[in-house]
Subunit: 227 residues, 2 copies
DNA sequence: GGCAACTAGATTGTTAACAATCTTGGTTAC
DNA sequence: GTAACCAAGATTGTTAACAATCTAGTTGCC
């Protein structure tokens, strides 16, 4: 799970269509492919040693995932995401993850309670040590855990889609001064309310947390425009 | 919008990939293709006069939409939807359409207010006349209108996906005794709260409405198992 | 010098043939 | 009679060649 920190140049060997999809998606999410960058079929063919048909199918799938843009006879590009869209995506995540939190509160088991609280401790450690990388990672693990505990497949699939699109903004938000501390407090509240079994409160805290991410996004944008 | 009541046998002429997607999707939503039914590529080729490549791309897209199931070397089938899944889909719709209702309340214009209230009147007329077909149609138009007024693209795309999957259950719910009357009352409340500009109440009423659909679904299932 | 038309190269879209896999029906051995 | 096996047909997966479209650079004309 925590692999693929290496450069892109080491796993080109014969890929199938799923392989190409994964590779390009990861490349986009990791920032190796920049927004707007062209993705010529021929390049992907030689890069991943896949047939052109496979590359073509992969691009179609990435388009339907919303992270690649295709124009007839003009090829595929990495789809740029505007701030407005990032806000929309986060708003959508807020309500869907709110649903997950509510369901998780109703369905959580004893083992899952233990694991979730352990993640809370990890979060505290990361923030105390000012370890932004660890914070970002555990952050995602908390959201993932709540989603898994909720056992809501439909919501899970929707979140997969939304997360893929918004990841490029995530690590940026974590760099705002004071943001990790605020995010940690909110996550602890989410964890506690889910563990307590109070569905309404779990939904509220999760939504509040993500709406505060929306605020952070807009603040980030204001800062950018200031310069 | 309200077309395609005819049989499937009249528009086969040379279709592109989007044409095949639309045709098969409509066919599934209209019930012409039954859940679990096989969709051999050769059949679709001759039916819609499309190339096999186009059919193949179309099937891939339909799979990513979640309404078609494909197994390697075993072809495509119409994906069956269980009651549990229909409940999940409706729960997801509840929170996402709740978001739309809240945004719509904030962004609605005078013209849109007029149009939305007109839909409410149509709904009353349909229920008074016990016109189930009209009720179902206007019902969908109300949801569509709220979605459009919200101007929330991300939520709109998500709802497109969810609606495609759940439509097969919809008209069934409308047939429950007393259901149209209950649904109408709820819709009127949604319309009024959106028009009033109260975002919180708009979200509440929309969610309440769809949660009552969840109840209706489960009641429907109980009735089926009783026989 | 600037603009329009044209040509060559690059890139994507489409089709058809071939290869691999699965299903089905029958046959045979026990 | 049953179960394992085999072969033919049907169905899907893959590849390669061909066609259509776009882009950029060049040439010629005004």
């Amino acid at each position: 799970m925590a692999a693929s920190y290496e450069t892109a140049s080491d796993e080109p060997s014969t890929a199938t269509v799923d392989g190409v999809v994964t590779a390009v998606r990861d490349g986009i999410m990791a920032g190796r492919y920049a927004p707007g960058q062209r993705l010529p079929e021929a390049d992907l063919v030689s890069l991943y040693q896949a047939s052109r048909g496979a590359v073509r199918t992969a691009l179609a799938q990435l388009e339907s995932e919303g992270i690649v843009l295709r124009e007839r006879n003009r090829g595929a590009r990495v789809r740029p995401i505007s701030l407005d869209e990032a806000v929309e995506i986060t708003e959508a995540r807020a309500v869907v993850e709110g649903l997950c939190a509510a369901k998780a509160a109703q369905r959580i088991t004893t083992d899952e309670r233990t694991r979730l609280r352990a993640l809370g401790d990890e979060l505290r450690t990361a923030v105390d040590g000012s370890d932004v990388m660890a914070y970002t990672r555990v952050n995602q693990e908390v959201h993932r855990a709540v989603r898994d505990i909720s056992r809501h497949e439909t919501a899970g699939i929707m979140l997969d889609r939304l997360r893929t699109q918004s990841v490029r903004y995530h690590y940026t938000v974590a760099l705002l001064p004071g943001r990790p501390a605020v995010g940690m407090r909110e996550h602890i509240e989410v964890i506690e309310s889910v563990c307590s079994g109070d569905a309404d409160r779990a939904e509220q805290t999760m939504r509040a947390h993500l709406m505060s991410v929306v605020d952070a996004l807009q603040q980030l944008d204001a800062n950018l425009h200031q310069w």
